[in-house]
Amino acid sequence: MAVARFWRNQDQRYNLMGSECEICGRKFFPDKTMCPVCHRKSIGKMKSFRFSGNGTIESYTMVHVGMPQFKSQVPYILAYIALDEGDHVLGQLVDCDISKVSIGMKVEMVFRKISQEGKSGTIQYGYKFRLSG
């Protein structure tokens, strides 16, 4: 059971909590202890930054065969999203037909069940996306 491991990432999964480097202003998701550009200068200077969940689709695919935990959900759309404030995130695109999806469309975050540790284990909630506007 990975209870603690999943719990540690709750703020990131629920609220898209990442980091902003106070030196260069770059924003990262998930959060980082050190900026990959500023290196040592950024230690202790990474502050929490909450992404809005708004972004643009840079690529997407319809998954037909996946891992066992997702068997009952196939086919589903997986999108590679450029978040408005910077950095990228991977997430399922819900509530839409694949025929309506194209690179460049805008998306917003929704709160959904991501996975569960079987019928008796904990449920992991977090971000998915849907077309906005």
């Binding site: 990432n9 990262f28 998701f29 998930p30 840079e58 690529s59 997407y60 695919t61 319809m62 998954v63 037909h64 065969v65 996946g66 891992m67 066992p68 935990q69 997702f70 068997k71 959900q73 589903y76 997986l78 590679y80 950095d87 990228h88 995130v89 991977l90 997430g91 399922q92 690179i103 991501i114 996975s115 992991q124 977090g126 971000y127 998915k128």
Partner: protein
């Protein structure tokens, strides 16, 4: 910096057939490949100073770690307590094991090292294998959210098609070429040619990729005997030198990169290898690249400098990388047709280049092959390793 203190060369090679080897355990696969390599090198086991084994996930697939000890025991070298090291970098484990062995010899620590790569992936059901394979990418930020390894490459494929106009047919032609080559390789998992329609109409995995765009689940092992050049010349009539070695890293998750239509790790690794060998992409006569997915081969031949960015799809489709082309790629059948036991692939790629440079790749020999290259990648490019080999 960037130079080896001693030259190294390969004395012998061996591999098992790749595929669903129900009767053969991991130990047996390992020993079979190892013994073939030792026989091919025509040396006594007692000459071996050290052993390296590349393996991604014995823990997940077999519930067993510390396989360095398991394999050296199987090879019969524990009486002399020969040092054994297991190396891991997802499906680049084989090439990484070779790279560590190169440094051990080049530094003067050892003279002869047996380098192997092995993986047994068919003892679990395919959906479980799919889950374990994702451990080579980012389980927490990609896997948890529904990304399987093929879906990550599918995202790259769609972006490549969007940015460069690469077509579905061009991508599929990689599989056609590799199956045609695999049909001439007695060690390949699949030895049957397929046509473009078969690839295009295959069941979908993650659009636009289908079954034939993806590597199969395989068991297998491959090994080689590496030595310093003087020892190699003593025992071997045609040692094959490793003149270049390079390695690059990148983020575990594709979300933390600036581009998903190229692998920065491959570009870095190939530059290092070309610099060390003192050659350029146009000098390469034959190459084995990491076609875990068809799109990965297209991106690889661009990253390695064989073709300009965005031209990879067209090049494959027009036959430039076929056996008769300007730069034959994956004459062995590649990961697609030869099979892809994760830890073994890196070594199997080197072995194919050795065969080509020795002029012994019957049925698929590239004429006058003198300089070869092998590129082995881990996961979605978190690690990429390039080696350049030359006839002595």
């Amino acid at each position: 910096m960037g130079k080896l203190l001693r030259d190294v060369a390969i004395m012998g090679i061996g591999q098992t057939r790749f595929g669903e080897m129900w009767d053969l355990s991991f130990r047996i696969l390992g020993i079979q490949a190892g013994m073939k390599a030792i026989k091919d090198a025509n040396i006594e086991s007692k000459l071996i100073d050290s052993l390296y084994i590349g393996n991604m996930s014995s823990g997940l697939f077999m519930d067993q770690e510390h396989i360095s000890s398991m394999i050296i025991e199987e090879v019969g070298l524990t009486e002399a307590h020969v040092p054994a090291t297991r190396v891991e970098a997802a499906d680049a484990s084989g090439a990484l094991a070779l790279r560590q062995a190169i440094f051990e010899i080049a530094s003067g620590q050892s003279n002869v090292i047996v380098v192997g790569g092995a993986e047994k992936m068919t003892d679990v059901t395919s959906d479980v294998a799919s889950d374990f394979i994702m451990a080579g990418a980012d389980k927490a930020w990609e896997g948890l959210f529904g990304a399987s390894l093929p879906s990550l490459f599918a995202l790259m494929a769609r972006k490549h098609m969007h940015d460069f106009g690469t077509t579905r047919e061009q991508i599929a032609s990689v599989a056609v070429k590799n199956h045609a080559n695999g049909a001439r390789n007695p060690f390949a998992q699949f030895q049957k040619e397929i046509d473009l329609d078969t690839v295009l109409n295959a069941p979908k995995i993650a659009e636009p990729l289908g079954v034939f765009d993806c590597f199969p689940v395989s068991d297998g092992a491959a090994a080689l005997i590496l030595a310093d050049i003087d020892t190699a010349k003593e025992y071997c009539s045609e040692p094959i030198r490793i003149t270049g070695s390079g390695q690059g890293s990148d983020t575990l998750s594709i979300t933390n990169r600036s581009e998903i239509t190229m692998f920065g790790s491959t570009i870095k690794a190939s530059k290092q290898a070309y610099d060390m060998a003192g050659v350029s992409p146009s000098d390469i006569d034959v190459a084995e690249v990491h076609d875990s997915y068809t799109i990965a081969e297209i991106i690889a031949i661009e990253d390695l400098g064989f073709f300009p960015k965005g031209e990879g799809g067209r090049a494959v489709f027009e036959g430039e990388t076929s056996l008769e082309g300007s730069i034959p790629v994956n004459t062995s059948g590649g990961l697609k047709a030869r099979g892809h036991p994760f830890g073994a692939t890196g070594i199997a790629q080197i072995n194919e280049i050795v065969l080509q440079l020795r002029n012994k790749a019957s049925g698929r020999q590239v004429k006058d092959a003198r300089i070869g290259l092998a590129q082995n990648m881990g996961g979605t490019g978190g690690t990429s390793i390039v080696h350049i080999l030359e006839v002595d």
